[in-house]
Every structure is written in structure tokens, then in C-alpha cells.
Point group: C2
Chain length 402, copies 2
């Protein structure tokens, strides 16, 4: 029983993909995508916990209930989040699902919608509907189609984000494919911007949901680019069953490992492609009173603008890290805290220790760095991924809409 | 009974001030300050809630208990926070208090210390001790001395921060003077970086503490520059009693109003001088389930990097504001939320309303702007002050130490 991971597209059985330019972004760029399970798929999904949920998130939740966990397709657009668009936005989203369903020959609630882009601008629904005929009917079970799908869901992302896994169950081979988009407004709470996962394993929706929740807890819920939680976060996992392998017994554990790894890979890709980010930072917090406490400390450090700017400047200013640890609300004693940058300790028992500053600066100039924080208050630990805060983030976001 | 406010120094009776360059910052710059009450003063104080508290915060807390609320002086240095410096840092701080007390002819615990600057670097205590003889003995009851004190406590601040109030009680005149420093690592929880308040009213320490707590709750606890909570936040209020006017009965209310106004004035000055800030932003949240909920929403909006960068770019991107409202954890319905930029509504019932975008952009280019958020969920409200996030913040903090 061996797992094989890949960051390229591995096509799972039972799915077809398509993408077209609908003119929602600048003309000619792919911005409308379809992922179809021709014979249907069991589905699990997680959505943003932001109280301001976009229309597609509200409709997807409704369709999920109505379909009792078996769907036919996901319909995704980029360039417009269809959020804060009122009842017009809800109608537009529903109409898109209806017409896609008509084209696919299924029920409206068997289509889950998702959107990403600017908030508060009406969705150009006529353009979307006008592009549907050229989308529905061109699905293909090919890696080329997968790549077009991955391209079509991007906004300020600079590259597509794919991760896949494959493992054998007896004589059967199970494949899992994940596609994500990220960039900004990233501090997912229960999900991240947009993530689509496809497997040809067979499963009940309930089991799928448990597996997805466990994987997200240690992947998308452990990253932050800017501490802003989006209104459109969506993670959807579909299982077509085409491989003939059922997620039961030992297979569940194997699938959980594959799913977690694929989700972590995608989560890390989102951070690596964070808006303006130059540096990928792995935070390892250990010795916490609990896992939740470790995560809270990690999140506070990951979201500290002073820590993030110090990282951008390759400045081993561990005092800011310690200050963030202390501000996290977790009851720790400062004089038990140790901090490492890469292999080098920079703070022991809450105060400076002798370290090679030149070496530390050189280390921090790398594109990927690791920071370890030992709290000395228990055995709780957490790994968290984040990026630095650069002037480019400001440039990108000071006038995103124009 | 009339209150008079001033942003210049009004000298309260019973206090003397002094400041010298001790060589903790670059040579020649004022970095060591003393505020003395020759006949003693009742005192109230609030400190950071950061679990990593600097040595001067720990010692000041201890001295406050030991002195039972009556002290003789505050001793402040800038250029070094004396934080994460272990037992050496504690000893250095104590020694400075001891020698200052010897010079002033009082007990060690009648001196409250405070420090601001870099974290994790040993305090150059010999320089500090070497400068004490030239500091103690040069105190003066003059506005010139007050200005030197205000100068000596700054770090990356670009200007001194003073606010004062005066009111009459019968034939007696009561004065209140406040001096602050701010700039970065500003999201005070119970206090802000360093604030010193002096009054010649007469009061018990217990009453003084209640007055200070109430004033801080609507001033220093309602601002954020970068969402980072400092390890050295300290607010100290001293009452010399030199005016002969006691804080009893009606006088308490009058003093509370004066104190609150002075604290708000200083809090706003800290935000206006936030690192890299170009814009002073007043957030008014209303219609919240409670005051705490209003404050939570305001804090979430104030700390959103996407809102702050949109403000820097004068982009009326209200969708980001709505997303931050939704992410605050306060249970609101998106379709009840209204948002105004200045006098112009930009979002009604959770979606875009028709507004003049050119006018909105022109408004957002001002140095001081106001944003009003009506939640439609009750009568709780809160005013909060913050600033924009600019590339200059990154520049200042990417390599603060060098």
C-alpha cells in the first residue's frame, strides 16, 4: 500500500472538465469553469465562517442540503465574487445553475456554484449565461482540461495550484486531484478561497465530510496571508466512485493521509503565491498547553505586521516574535520561551542568546524559512504557514479595483 | 464650570520635569526623562496585557503595590524597551530606580520606571546611570522642561504628543497635562505605549484608578496602528493635589470629562503619527448588539490590511469593509448593514447603492476621513481611530534595528 504524491494533474476517473472566457475578467481570459461527474458524485463541502457570505456560498449550502450529498457539477467563475449583491446576486447565481443543469441534463440543485473576485459589484450574469453553451458540452477527461479549469479560477494569483495523490487498494488504483486559488483575503476559517477536490474513490457523503473536515483542520485552517477572512471561501470534495474502491476500513486511513497531504500542498501553494509575498514561512509552535493554544500563538505571530515586515527585511528581530507570542492571549511565562530561526537558537528562556547575526540574516534571505517557537508549557504543537509582508502587497491592494 | 482644552503644555502645580541625552539612542538626542512630584502624588496606572511584560512594567507594578498609590517620580528612557532581557534587565531597571530615588531623597519604590525602544537588546545601564546625576537636580516647573520630557520619550514618532485641560472648581483652578509616545506596535489593550498624565487635583489612588480606567476604555483602547500589542504599554496618572481642589462629588464628573478628552486627544495623535500613516481614519460603528460588539467590529475593520491598503489608495472599496464586518465574529445579518464614507452612503442593506465614485475618491484623498458602519442589530456603538497601511510602514519596519 503505497501513496504517490504529485504536484501535477493526475486525472481521477469519473470526472470531466471545461473552461471558457466569458468576459467577466478582461476579454479573452479564462474565467468560467465546469467540473462535471457525468454519473454523479458523493460530495462534502466546507464554506467560509464569515457572516457576510457571498450568493454562491448561500446557494451552494442550499443545494448541498437539497441534493442530500450527491451532485453532478461545480460551476465556478472568477473576476466577480457575487458578494454583497443582494437578491439580484442570488437570482443571477441561481439562473446560472439552472441553465448549466439544463445543459447537463440534471437538477438545478445538483450544480454547486462558486465565485471569486471583487465584492459588491453586480455579477455580469448575461455574459456568464451567454458563455454557458460554449462551456457545457466541451467537457473533457484530460489533463489539458484540468489545467484550463485551474487557470480559469484565478484572480491575482500568479500561477495555477494543483496537487494530486494516487494509491492502490488491492488491485484498484485510487486517484485524488486538488485544484485551488488563493492570493489575498486569506485567513480561512473552515475553508479557503476556492478549492476543488476530485477522487474516484467511492464513499458516502457523511464519511467524505468527516475526512474533509479533518484534512482542512491541518491545512487550509493553518495558513494566513493577510489575516483577512474571505466571504467566498469554499472547499468542495467530490467522489465519483469510478475506481470501484470504497472508502471503508483501512482504505479510509490511507485516503485521509492522501487527502491531508494534497490539502497541505495546496495550502502551502496559496501562501507561496500570497499577494506580494517573497518568502514562504513555516512556523512550528510546540510546548503549548494544547493544540488550540499552539495554533492561536502561531496565528498571532503569522498575522503580526511587525514580524512579517521584519521577515521581508531579513531582520532576525526575534523580540517582535516574542511580543506577538505574549499578545496571543495564551497564558505563557515569557521566561520559558525559546525561539529558533532555522537551526539557530536566537532566544532562550525569553531573552537573547548569543547567535551569529550575519548567519541569521543570510538564512532569512532565503525564499523559504522556518521559525520554531517552544513555549515550555505542555505538549501541544501546531505547524502554520504564512508569508512576509512587502511593499508589493500594498501596491497590489491600494487600488485593486482599477 | 467651564472646561478649557489645549494641545499645548499647561503646567499643573506640584510637578517638575527634566530630560537629558544619555546615549541610549544616537549620541546627543534626548532619551532619559524625569517627571517629579516634589511633595508626592497619588497615582493610578494601567499596563500592557501582553504576557511578555518588559522589566520596567514588572518593576512599576511592584512599586505601585509597595507604595500604596503614592509616588514621587516617573523615570523614562527611550531607545531600548528593556524587554526580554531576563534578570539582568530587571536588575538594571531596579538600579536606575534606586539611584534616581537616592538623588531625589525618596524610597526606591516611589519611582515608577518606563522604557520604549527595541526588544531583546540589553539596556545600556551604565550610560543610563552615568546620565542620572545630570538629570536629577535639573528639574524645572516650566513648559520648556515639559517639552524636553515629551521629546525624550519618542522613538520612531515624528512629533511630540501633548494635550491638556483646565477647569475651575469654585475659586480653584485644576489643570491636567498629558504626554504620550506612539508610532508602531500599537493596539493597546488596557493602555498604550507610554502615556504620562499629571494633575494638580487632589484624589485618592483608588478614585484615580477608576477615573483612569474609564478614560482609557474610550481612548487608548479604541485605537490601532498595526494590531500589534506592545510589551511596554504604560499609562500613569499622577495627582499632586497642589491646586487644593479635591476630586469629590461634581468635581469627579468634571475631571472625568477632562481626562477622557485629554486621553482621546493623545490617542488620536498617536494614530495620526502611526508609522507610515498618511491618513487618519475615524470609524463609527453603530446599531450593534452591544458596545463590546461594536468595538469588536470596529477593531476588525481597523486591523484589516485590505481595508487599510484600500484607504491608502483612496479606493472606496466598501466590499472589503463589509467582509471585515462579517469576519469579526459578531452575529450580524449582511443585509442589514449600511456603510457611509463621509456623508455619502456607499452600501445599503448589505449591497452597493448608487454613489458618486469620483466624489468618494476625492473624499478619501483627504488626510482625515470618517467611515460610518450601521449594523442594524441594536443600539450599541463605538468610535475607533486608525490609520492607513502604506509602503512606508513596510520600509520603516523591514529593518527597524539597523
Amino acid at each position: 500500500m503505497k501513496l504517490k504524491f504529485s504536484t501535477r494533474a493526475l486525472l481521477p476517473g469519473g470526472f470531466r472538465f471545461a473552461a471558457v472566457p466569458a468576459g467577466i475578467k478582461v476579454p479573452g481570459r479564462l474565467d468560467l469553469a465546469l467540473g462535471e461527474a457525468p454519473a454523479g458524485a458523493a460530495v462534502a463541502a466546507l464554506f467560509t465562517t464569515n457572516r457576510v457570505a457571498a450568493a454562491p456560498v448561500q446557494i451552494a449550502r442550499r443545494h448541498l442540503r437539497r441534493s442530500r450529498g450527491r451532485i453532478r457539477a461545480v460551476l465556478v467563475n472568477s473576476g466577480n465574487a457575487n458578494c454583497a449583491t443582494g437578491s439580484d446576486g442570488m437570482r443571477a447565481c441561481l439562473e446560472a445553475c439552472e441553465q448549466a443543469a439544463a445543459g447537463l441534463g440534471c437538477r438545478t440543485w445538483e450544480v454547486l456554484p462558486a465565485s471569486t473576485g471583487v465584492i459588491g459589484v453586480p455579477l455580469p450574469v448575461q455574459r456568464l449565461l451567454g458563455a454557458l453553451p460554449s462551456l457545457v458540452g466541451t467537457q473533457a477527461a484530460s489533463t489539458g482540461a484540468v489545467k484550463r479549469f485551474a487557470q480559469a479560477i484565478l484572480t491575482t494569483d500568479t500561477r495555477t495550484k494543483l496537487a494530486a495523490a494516487e494509491f492502490r487498494l488491492g488491485r484498484r488504483s485510487v486517484r485524488l486531484l486538488g485544484i485551488a486559488k488563493g492570493a489575498g483575503m486569506i485567513q480561512p476559517r473552515l475553508a479557503t478561497m476556492l478549492v476543488f477536490l476530485f477522487t474516484d474513490a467511492r464513499s458516502t457523503p457523511r464519511r467524505l465530510q468527516a475526512l474533509l473536515r479533518a484534512a482542512c483542520r491541518v491545512s487550509f485552517e493553518r495558513i494566513s496571508v493577510d489575516g483577512d477572512t474571505s466571504t467566498n471561501d469554499t472547499v468542495i470534495l467530490q467522489a465519483s466512485g469510478a475506481s470501484g474502491a470504497a472508502l471503508e476500513g483501512r482504505a479510509t486511513h490511507l485516503f485521509q493521509a492522501a487527502l491531508t497531504r494534497v490539502c497541505q500542498e495546496l495550502a502551502q501553494k496559496i501562501v507561496q503565491d500570497g499577494e506580494g509575498a517573497c518568502k514562504f514561512v513555516t512556523l512550528r509552535v510546540e510546548g503549548a498547553p494544547s493544540t488550540a493554544a499552539a495554533e492561536r500563538v502561531a496565528r498571532q505571530v503569522a498575522n503580526s505586521p511587525l514580524v512579517k515586515t521584519a521577515l521581508a527585511g531579513a531582520d532576525p528581530n526575534w523580540g517582535r516574535v516574542l511580543a506577538a507570542v505574549g499578545a496571543s492571549g495564551v497564558a505563557i511565562e515569557a521566561n520559558r520561551v525559546d525561539i529558533w530561526l532555522g537551526g539557530q537558537a536566537v532566544c532562550r528562556r525569553g531573552k537573547a542568546c548569543v547567535f551569529d547575526e550575519v548567519k541569521a540574516r543570510r538564512y532569512l534571505r532565503r525564499r523559504a524559512v522556518e521559525m520554531r517557537i517552544r513555549l515550555g508549557h505542555g505538549s501541544g504543537f501546531s505547524t502554520f504557514w504564512t508569508c512576509d509582508l512587502t511593499a508589493d502587497y500594498i501596491r497590489i491592494n491600494a487600488d485593486y479595483r482599477s
